[in-house]
Amino acid sequence: MSDTDVSVQVATQAAEVSYQRRSPWASMLRRFRKNKRALVGFWMVVVFVGIAVFAQAIAPYDPIEQNMDVILQPPSADHLFGTDEYGRDILSRIIYGSQISLMIGIVGVLISVVIGVGLGTVSGYFGGRTDMFIMRIMDIFMAFPSFLLALAIVSVLGPGMVNVMIAIGIFSVPTFARISRSAVISVKNKEFIEAAKSMGASHARVIFKHVLPNSVAPIIVLSTMRIATAILTASGLSFLGMGAQPPTPEWGAMLSTGREYLRTAPHVSTIPGLAIMFMVLAFNMLGDGLRDALDPKMKL
């Protein structure tokens, strides 16, 4: 967090005048609040999360209940987003679909954060042969186009939601390992790490108390952005039939089946497409905002 250096002079001068405590997180929050785009992203994410959490209360229809009387109807007062080829209410399916997309995004990223940050931290902190070994394996993973890698993993594990999460988790691991490795390397040469060691702190203590808290910024930013990628990839996999299986209201799958009716009922595939777009946009804007607030010089 190099911005602390700048704020040091200001802060020390102001320290005598206004006496209020400010942790590095508080000043980050202040910068985030000033960023309009980030706030829009943040509130969009909040809305999506709200929709997902309260899906049962909000959705006007059962997402998988078929009604052959109202097949492929355009948007109307009864069905705000119209109906699909089995007469299911698209609005309800979109609402329930947000649960699936968010869950895949968050769980997938969580998997990659745990594995990737773990590997990257060990790699960066200990260096040498350990570093060589871990990072060369990560390089091998990086050599594959990430979507193809996810597709390959799902093909091996078999289609399904859980496998999609695992695939997405694995395909982001190298990115997290690299980012956290470089963050750890830049932190571990700071004098306070040397100071902590000279106080008799163990490796575990140095890593968890001194190294990781000072390298979370890029990891937080990357996680947010990776949720967007994960959602997009999950939709892609479902579009190809490798992800959620019918009748699960997954956005990518809905987009895929809607293709057949693109000329007669374009809303069947455009609405899930828009939903994917807005959710990805929301996470990307939030991620950009977090990056600007945490460290404007960060390159991500």
Partner: protein
């Protein structure tokens, strides 16, 4: 004679780099008695910091030879775990850069209390109380408030006080101070040195003071070790070193200090620069810059000899000058 607290003997710390082996510390002997202040003086790259880091077993280099005994224990043979017991507890260190030596995401109190939490199993509340006590000891006003403050709100001088409080939290027997005042301005320097002297007097802590500032040495130290290119070139008590420096390098250092009553317009400087690390040493490594260099200096490496009781110097001049007063030390 008092018991030796720290004794470094024939220490060699080498760095293995892609360009070859660098002998950062090449056969150094230093000893410190309990309660004593010993200064290590030398230019950048003379190996003084590496020596001190090796004493804590924190050097990134490799110890090739030598022994380090601390409080009767050979620490080079200790396991990493046993070494951790000593660090921060019996032997503590303060660093040069107070701006970067504190973790920006934790409060001052957290960081001062860390040592007692590690070594004395203090609870959070006890550690905080200890932190407040230490802050008061190092003369920080409003200790009760500062203890919950983050480092970036403090000035450099305050942070250096916090660093000292951190290092002293477990009442160590030895405090290693690596250029503790270099990054501070002059008035703050004096305050920090005063503080260190007070703590030394009240707690009986021995101090190993690493510096390139001869003024700091004169003010603080009992004994001084002058290092050049990874070796000790002269060692004596502080008064002798300032009045009768014997090694040409030390004499050069003394001459290059400005004095108020001097008529000279230009300050003396030692010609040349520290030899590139890693180059093979043949002869005395100071010979290329030495005004008194003789043929033998380029062929053999001079031994460290005791020229007077407690006064050691590494130079061939002492051998050849026996009987005659030889090179008069430059004294102002």
């Amino acid at each position: 004679m008092e018991r030796k607290l720290l004794e470094i003997k024939g220490l060699k710390t080498y760095f293995y780099t892609d360009e070859g082996v660098v002998a950062a510390v090449d056969g150094v002997d230093i000893s410190i008695r309990a309660g004593e202040t010993v200064g290590i003086v030398g230019e950048s790259g003379s190996g003084k910091s590496v020596t001190s880091l090796t004493a804590m077993r924190l050097t990134p280099g490799k110890v090739v030879e030598g022994s380090i005994t601390f409080d009767g224990k050979e620490i080079l043979g200790l396991s990493e775990e046993e070494m951790r017991e000593i660090r921060g507890n019996e032997m503590a260190m303060i660093f040069q850069e107070p701006m970067t030596s504190l973790n920006p995401v934790f409060t001052i109190g957290d960081q001062i209390g860390e040592a007692v939490r590690i070594h004395r199993n203090y609870s959070k509340a006890q550690a905080r109380a200890r932190a407040v006590e230490m802050l008061k000891l190092v003369g920080i006003p409003r200790a009760e408030q500062i203890v919950d403050e983050y480092p970036h709100r403090l000035s450099g001088g305050m942070r250096q006080r916090v660093m000292i409080a951190m290092a002293m939290a477990c009442d160590p027997k030895l405090l290693i101070a690596d250029e503790p005042t270099t990054a501070l301005d002059v008035t703050i320097q004096a305050q920090i040195l005063d503080l260190m002297s007070e703590l030394k007097a009240s707690k009986g802590t021995a101090i190993l003071l690493i510096t390139h500032d001869l003024g700091v040495v004169a003010e603080m130290c009992d004994r001084v070790v002058v290092m050049y290119d990874g070796r000790v070139v002269e060692e004596s008590d502080v008064v002798t070193l300032f009045t009768h420096p014997r090694h040409p390098y030390t004499q050069g250092l003394m001459k290059s200090m400005p004095t108020l009553d001097s008529e000279e317009k230009r300050l003396y400087s030692i010609k040349g620069s520290v030899p590139a690390q890693g180059s093979l040493r043949i002869g005395c490594s100071f010979a290329p810059r030495c005004e008194h260099a003789m043929a033998i200096c380029r062929e053999q490496s001079p031994p460290l000899q005791e020229i007077e009781l407690g006064h050691f110097s590494r130079c061939f001049l002492h051998a050849s000058a026996e009987g005659r007063t030889g090179h008069e030390p430059a004294v102002h």
